[in-house]
């Protein structure tokens, strides 16, 4: 039995103090993607494009799943995922990324000190041809040290038994 909508909205949000974003962090990300856009690497190119200097790839913050040093390996679930970011109803199930909707605010620049707030907004089940699926929908809002909105991600995680 899944909790009611009322119970879902009353659950507390998870707050992640991400800390300071550095150029190395997001440049490694861009290299891993294979996206060598100069606005991530070259201050002059970024300034010519109207930015104060290099900026992070638009989906950098929202793609990083963990921001603390841990968890230590024994504390991961059997599939390697981190229990903390998953609602209890889908922990230990087979997980797949369902979809993401990003709304962008200010660009993410080196030195930005970022905080993320994750809140569950919906939890529902759908019968699929290969069994019952649970959908967990969360909003994750990222802001910087001045309270400026950087990006919001509405994330859907699909869990199968």
């Amino acid at each position: 039995m899944l909790p009611s909508k009322d119970e879902i909205v009353q659950r507390p949000e998870l707050v992640y103090p991400i800390g300071e974003v550095t150029a190395l962090m997001f440049q490694r990300y861009a290299i891993a993607v294979g996206d060598l856009n100069p606005i991530y690497f070259d201050d002059a190119a970024a300034r010519a494009a109207g930015y104060p200097g290099i900026v992070a790839p638009a989906n950098f913050l929202t793609s990083v799943l963990g921001w603390q040093a841990g968890p230590a390996e024994p504390d991961l679930l059997a599939d390697g995922t981190e229990a903390r970011i998953l609602v209890p109803e889908i922990r230990g199930l087979r997980l797949m990324g369902g979809g993401h909707d990003l709304t962008f605010g200010q660009p993410v620049v080196p030195g930005a000190v970022v905080t993320a707030r994750r809140k569950l907004v919906d939890l529902y089940e759908r019968q699929a041809k290969f069994g019952l699926l649970t959908f967990a929908v969360s909003d994750i809002v990222y802001t910087d040290q001045r309270g400026e909105h950087l990006v919001t991600c509405r994330e859907t995680v699909i869990a199968a038994k």
Binding site: A32, V33, D35, N37, D79, G99
Partner: protein
């Protein structure tokens, strides 16, 4: 990278974006998991992925999104700005798949001085199967603003 700059006035509804072709490797998946602190075993441990019913290790959901974003960024140029971007993970992809990102302009409008263009985008594999459909809204520079 597309070195030329696109202005709002240059864009026609129905126009196609230049396609971006990506062939993810196990090295790419490993590095992407590493930089995103994603220890989910389905992305780097083939035996485990097979145990979960997958044919091989899987391309990360966010990497599909990153490929689509790269295509948009190459097309809109450095002065374009993303307003919204969303995608769904509809089909699995594994290392060695040829993933082609394509896109099309479906609307353009001026709202509060912003020159907005709506895009329909999709990533398909070498068999033509849809892996990741999505949509985006970008703000483009305007020729008017330049004058």
């Amino acid at each position: 990278m597309n070195p030329s700059e696109i202005f709002f006035e240059d864009v026609a509804v129905g126009a196609e974006l230049p396609a971006l072709v990506k062939v993810p490797t196990t090295v790419q998946l490993f590095r992407y998991s590493a930089v995103t602190w994603n220890a989910h075993r389905i992305h780097y441990e083939k035996e485990y992925a097979i145990k979960e019913g997958h044919p091989d290790v899987l391309v990360q959901a966010h990497l599909h999104g990153a490929f689509l974003l790269q295509m948009i960024g190459d097309w809109m140029g450095p002065r374009g700005r993303l307003v919204r971007f969303g995608w769904s993970n509809r089909g699995r992809a594994i290392p060695g798949d040829t993933l082609t990102c394509t896109g099309r302009v479906i609307d353009k409008r001026v709202v509060d001085g912003q020159h907005l263009v709506d895009l329909e985008i999709v990533e398909t594999n070498q068999r033509g199967e849809v892996c990741a459909p999505g949509q985006a809204t970008v703000a483009l520079p305007s020729q008017e603003a330049r004058q």
